[in-house]
Amino acid sequence: MGATKTQRVIITLLLFVCSVQNAFAEMMEKGKTKIKTLLNVYSQSSKSGKQVLDNSGNEDVKVIEPQIFVKHQITADTEINASFTIDTWTAESDTILDGNTGASGEGKKGQARVAPNLGVRREVGKTKYGMNVGISSEYDYSSKNISANVEQSFAEDNFTLGLNIQYYADTVALFPDITPPLNAKIGEDLNRDIYAINIGASQILTRKDIIEVSATYANSKGRLESTAGTVNVNNVREVEVLPGERKRNAISTKWVHAFNDEMAMNVSYRNYFDNWGAHANSTRIAFLMSLREEQDFIELAIRHHSQSAVDYYKYNFSGSERYMTSDSDMSKFTSYEPSIMYSRSLGTLKPFGFNLEDAEWGNTMTYSKRNTGLQYVYFQTSLAFFF
């Protein structure tokens, strides 16, 4: 027996918050609701951060980020979706600049980001449309964002062409004066606008092969510095200074090949370049397997990433320059990232009188290590169900 109408309304009201920027997955049956709860736990360690104020290089970070995703099919061709993210961030390399002055709100007790998102998706013949709006808020950064998608299929759905545009109206608060650091006060909110456009196409090649190609252009304008980023200029710490615009380009391709009904390979490649002088190549190969008549799903993957430094990056500066950064994320490095995912179908669950159909429990472990020393690991666990 399914959940009563009242129970469905209560669940939807309790959990309906924000949106997921999802690819165009298949529409569900009218009236169906899917809920997925996801817990992300991230831990990073590094002592090689040249941007850290006290010269310790400490980039240790721990993040606990629960998320919830909701999709509801209101008609046969229209779906509404929402997601909500709570990001609890204890970034030691971030608060070390503030030093408990109170400018960060809670000092070293921790910081939190909340990010709700809401969207709608509609399918009309061979065309699919979608739109999402979202906000994000933390003590030194806020965001209002909107995205729109359209996808058209051709040749009996063998070929699809998609377009996605995104706009972020963000603000960032920086420390204008860090002399001395313990007296540093965070400044007013400064604008940071990000525009992005992505065009992609997919093509079925054979019964067992499909490829996808996409191109992305993103333009960031405004204050692009990191709140806690500093540089060492003749043994004196100064705030980092970056250009007011960054033009970014990426080309990516993905090929999926099925060996048989239960095993497939997914290979992807991305080439990136921007007007700050950074170039990057990223390659990922994954093997996907379904077991027990598709009740279980396993993915084993390894990813390699290599990038050059941006033009303004140095470990230390002998004198002040127009643009300066020592942000380790903008340095030259290579990294390897193995990951494993396992999900299991739990069938129908019946907690407290609710009928939760097609429940699935998933777990993912990802590890990454750079040749510069920074490494991180994160664990993701999820529970999804329909009603």
């Binding site: 992300n40 390399s93 933390e138 950064y141 063998n158 972020y168 806690a228 996907l288 999900s343």
Partner: protein
């Protein structure tokens, strides 16, 4: 921008020359054949990569939305 227009034109030229009929797409509909078989997990994964690597593209994150550092 010129490069973007160039690559965009290349993508548009990828028109289908060989059709696989609906009846033969059984394997293509399976989860193992999806470009992204776990889209919700990918949201966080894309965020981590966008802020830890400085490169964007190939996913949803484009470097906005949070001051993650």
């Amino acid at each position: 921008m010129k490069l973007f227009l160039y690559y965009g034109a290349c993508i548009i030229l990828l028109t289908s020359c060989a059709n696989v009929p609906q009846i033969d797409r059984g394997i293509l509909a399976k989860r193992i054949m999806q470009f992204d078989p776990h889209p919700e997990e990918t949201v966080f994964q894309d965020e981590v990569r966008a802020f830890r690597e400085g490169a964007i593209g190939g996913g949803k994150a484009v470097g906005g939305g949070c001051g993650c550092n």
